[in-house]
Amino acid sequence: MFHTHLIPEEIEKIKNLEGQARGQTIKSALQTIEIMEGKEGLEKFKIRLKEIGCWLDIYEDYNKIKIFAWYPMWYDILPIVAAVDLFAWDEEKLKQFGAYNQRVSFFEKVLLKYFISLDIVFKFTPERWRKNYSVGDFSFAAFNEKEGYGILQLKNFTVHPAFCHLLLGYLISANKFVVSFKEMTGEETKCVFRGDPYHEYLIKWTK
């Protein structure tokens, strides 16, 4: 069971995060909250943000968020952590949240050239990442089509443990776009919140 409590110290920590996030990431997050929790859930979530003093006008209508504009990192991370706290999402829910985030993203829909084969999806993950976040260095560590696995590493990105599960769901969803394999799974094999120097994601598939 994954759970987080959004205490004032935690909020402060998130508000001090370095870097910027594209408006698309914020829009995707709010849109996905609505998909998973319904319109009522989204309204409850907005009230929650106001209660904890983290309200921003851009959260009012996600369709009006400028997806190409850069916003402070916390504009994106805080709603995610607040949603985990409010809806008591577990790891699986967070993975689903990440997968839906990937599927609703305008960037992922129009960038067809990144979704032509599995090795291309892996190879261009760093490039796709940079379109969403100004910080964090993604790298393509391994890819073995025969053995059915690929490894991605994310360095210099320490935002919140909830994000690790979200990202895993996002990566699996993106890879599923280019395969027709029976099963695709993934795990975070290294994590900065477990004392590792970086995040590492192992994605596996079976034919």
Binding site: R103, L112, K113, I116, V179
Partner: protein, 204 residues
């Protein structure tokens, strides 16, 4: 020093470019909502990357239910759609074909499918656009027309048959009349008692 002098200028250019992209995205978004055309973007492995509002409206599936799925799942003719997909890759112009679309409620409707390959500047195939047009009304209209044509043809055939029958009777009668007239003529020329009574019998 030189670099820092140009930095605000570069940032300004990036901001402008972002604003332009924002406008472009808004334009695409509005078109997507407005256009009554069901369309989707598909990658080279025939997986759906994005769908229009009209696509969801036509199929009954939500955006999330369709995104990431193979386009084949929507069509009844599995073999033909595979052939169609293979053809898209090799064609530069759009191609069209008729298929049967399977809706979420398991209803099947006839559709016209149009596809256009998308390529990189290098010519590399990166996927395709696919539009689906509901032609069930056109098909119904066509079937109704065919039914009416068939009905009228049947009616016409019956009339012709009637006419032919009538014609056969009339012609038969006419021939008989001619034969009788000839016989009368002959009898008139050589009047005979027996022939006269035979003639009377025949003419009633």
């Amino acid at each position: 020093m030189e670099e820092s002098r140009h930095l605000p200028q570069v940032e300004g250019t990036i901001d402008e470019a972002n604003k332009d992209l924002e406008e472009l995205q808004k334009y695409i978004g509005e078109l997507n909502i407005f256009l009554p055309l069901a369309f989707c973007t598909v990658n080279p492995l025939n997986r759906i990357l994005g769908v229009s509002k009209a696509f969801c409206g036509l199929t009954g599936y939500s955006e999330l239910e369709t995104t990431g799925n193979n386009i084949d799942m929507f069509f009844l003719e599995k073999k033909e759609i595979k052939e169609f997909e293979a053809e898209i890759i090799n064609r530069k112009e759009k191609i069209e074909r008729e298929f049967t679309l399977i809706l979420k409620n398991q209803t099947n409707i006839p559709v016209n499918v149009t596809a256009l390959a998308r390529r990189e500047e290098t010519g590399e195939f990166v996927g395709y656009f696919l539009t689906i047009t509901d032609i069930s009304r056109t098909k119904q209209f066509q079937q109704e027309l065919e039914r009416q044509v068939e009905e009228k043809t049947k009616e016409l055939r019956e009339k012709i048959e009637e006419l032919e029958k009538f014609n056969r009777i009339v012609v038969g009668r006419e021939l008989k009349m001619v034969a009788l007239k000839e016989k009368i003529k002959k009898l008139e020329e050589k009047p005979d008692k027996n022939d006269q009574s035979q003639l009377e019998e025949e003419t009633g």
